[in-house]
């Protein structure tokens, strides 16, 4: 299994990650080794086997649709790197 620099760059773009130029080759080699190991899953016959998305021992978790408490705006904004009285602030996008 090998992963090209282009594939790594594509995936870090999807994941919104900056990666240092010097790191790319080492990353590609480690990711290729791990994915190569994961390839053993191909040995398993899974025809007709349903997928397990979680290990919970429940079906659905219903509750009444009632109004509840929520985080006050000031507390929700308290950890923001940049905020005003009402909103999170981000660089201009429009």
């Amino acid at each position: 299994m090998s992963i090209t620099r282009e594939e790594i760059l594509h995936v870090v773009e999807l994941a919104r990650l900056e990666i240092a130029e010097a790191e790319i080759d080492a990353f590609a080699a480690q990711v290729a080794e791990i994915l190569g190991y994961i390839d053993r899953l191909r040995e398993v016959d899974t025809a007709g086997v349903p997928a397990t998305a979680h290990a919970g021992f429940f079906r659905n978790a219903f509750r009444e649709d009632e109004e509840g408490g929520h985080l006050p705006r000031g507390e929700a904004l308290a950890n923001a790197p940049e905020a005003d009285e009402e909103s999170f602030l981000v660089p201009r996008v429009i």
Partner: protein, 485 residues
């Protein structure tokens, strides 16, 4: 007896008889942290003032006759559980200054029980790792041998309990992060059934695998903490609406008649240290002498468990960690006025190498063209692993195996070789994939004086049986009386 040598159970009795005070007990442990933690590195934050206030409140509760088993007991919490007003870093630069506006449910329940929280404990960044070397802030050393890691990711919790810096602690376990450090540090660690403990306020790593659980120096101490944190929580829709038994009361029932499954595949596992293999065989023989019966069982898909996990856990992590974007909380690295550049720089610099590696693997496995081959396939093989356990538990009441294939390894020994480190999770990962409970209990010391843990896996919501077995073994061996420092 020195106060830090008490168990939770013994300290609780002395507190309720007013022979010691909670303030005295808290001071003794804060003093110990000050004296010993510089050499161990278990704590990221010590909340001395809050702890003394909570201890004074506990003393008033005790005086009023309103005390439970944890009232006045000094505990500490892995820094991946939110604590209101106390910074919660997840061992990451990206959350270095994050101060949660609420308590995790497990933390809130400890406080309601009157526990005294001494501070926050070190971990691998976002709980990703098995050595606590991935913390962005400090290395934690194994109290039994400071040149070795305590295991991870809850390495701070295991080391703190082993070194008598607190009487018990909470950790989280996604693929072994409670049990493996418990094994390496010679303490008891419990991963409860998925859904047994609320995950509300546990910073998410892999939501279908994560569980909060306790560390104690004895099985009873772990059981007392588990009883306090377990139970349905409306804030976590995956928390189970199942009755919470009195786990500590179950311990005295003995093990006569219990059937212990011995999986053939685990005995043949690659990389198993013969010393660990022998320790586990002797532990099972001890349990047989006490009236349990060993029976062979088979878990045929064991060889795929690590591969399944290292698709599913990174896939879920890549999604969960998308929230760290420099907007709502945590680090922001300016991107020259551009939003996308700000995201990338913040995440690229805020996350350490292991977290970035897992985000890349997870994103790759979920990306167009690869989803079915990786995530879809792993989710199907996960079903086969679940079935393996269902079949095995038709023939036994619990399964015994090592917790980790070797005793604690040296700091730096496995750095830069992620796959080798992942393969060592072979005994702990299956319980997370299947959602079943498991405990690690000290069963021996290696020739080099390092602790070795026995792991017991149980049926869903049957923590009582595995705790009974662990308690019986502990009573025979008495290893919890040994101390590292």
């Amino acid at each position: 007896m020195e106060l830090h040598e008490l168990t939770i159970a013994a300290a609780g009795r002395l507190l309720r008889r007013r022979e010691i005070s909670a303030v005295e007990l808290a001071r003794a442990h804060l003093g110990r942290i000050e004296a010993l933690d510089p050499g161990i590195g278990a704590f990221l934050t010590v909340t001395a003032e809050e702890a003394l206030a909570a201890a004074a409140a506990a003393d008033r509760r005790i005086a009023a006759g309103d005390a439970g088993p944890l009232t006045g007991i000094p505990l500490a919490v892995k820094d991946v559980l939110c604590t209101r007003g106390v910074r919660t870093t997840c061992g990451s630069r990206i959350l270095e200054h994050f101060v949660p506006p609420y308590d995790a449910t497990a933390v809130r329940r400890l406080r309601q029980a009157g526990a005294v929280i001494l501070g926050k404990l070190n971990l691998d960044e976002f709980a990703m790792g098995s050595s606590t070397e991935n913390s962005a802030f400090q290395v934690t050393r194994n109290p039994w041998d400071p040149s070795r890691t305590p295991g991870g990711s809850s390495g701070g919790s295991a080391a703190a309990v082993a070194a008598r810096l607190c009487l018990g602690a909470l950790g989280s376990d996604t693929g072994g992060s409670i049990r493996q450090p418990a094994s390496h540090c010679g303490v008891v660690g419990v991963k409860p059934t998925y859904g047994r403990v609320s995950r509300y306020g546990l910073v998410a790593f892999a939501s279908s695998l994560d569980q909060v659980g306790p560390f104690g120096r004895t099985v009873e101490d772990a059981a007392l903490q588990l009883a306090a944190i377990a139970g349905r929580d409306p804030a976590d829709s995956t928390s189970a609406d199942a009755p919470v038994p009195d786990f500590a009361a179950a311990l005295g029932r003995g093990v006569r008649g219990l059937r212990i499954g011995i999986p053939a595949e685990y005995r043949a596992a690659e990389g198993l240290d013969p010393e660990v293999g022998r320790a586990v065989e002797e532990a099972v023989a001890t349990l047989e002498r006490l009236g349990a019966t060993a029976v062979p069982v088979s878990l045929p898909h064991t060889r795929y468990a690590v591969a399944v996990y290292y698709v599913i856990a990174p896939a879920e992590a890549s999604s969960n960690l998308a929230r760290y974007d420099g907007v709502k909380y945590g680090l922001r690295e300016p991107g020259g006025g551009e939003l996308l550049a700000m995201y990338k720089r913040t995440r690229g610099r805020g996350f350490g190498p292991e977290v970035r590696r897992r985000i890349v693997i997870g994103t790759y496995c979920l990306s167009a063209g690869y989803y079915d081959a990786y995530y879809g396939k792993a989710s199907q093989v996960r079903s086969l692993i679940v079935r393996d356990f269902e079949e095995a538990f038709r023939h036994c009441d619990a399964i015994a195996c090592p917790t980790a294939p070797t005793p604690a390894f040296r700091i730096g020994e496995k750095a830069g070789d992620p796959l080798t480190l992942y393969l060592a999770d072979i005994f702990t990962i299956p319980a997370n994939l299947a959602g079943i409970p498991a405990v690690s209990v000290p069963c021996a010391f290696s020739a080099a004086g390092l602790p070795i843990g026995l792991q017991l896996l149980g049926k869903a919501f049957d923590e009582e049986t595995i705790l009974r077995l662990a308690h019986a073994l502990e009573g025979e061996r008495g290893l919890f009386r040994r101390r590292p420092c």
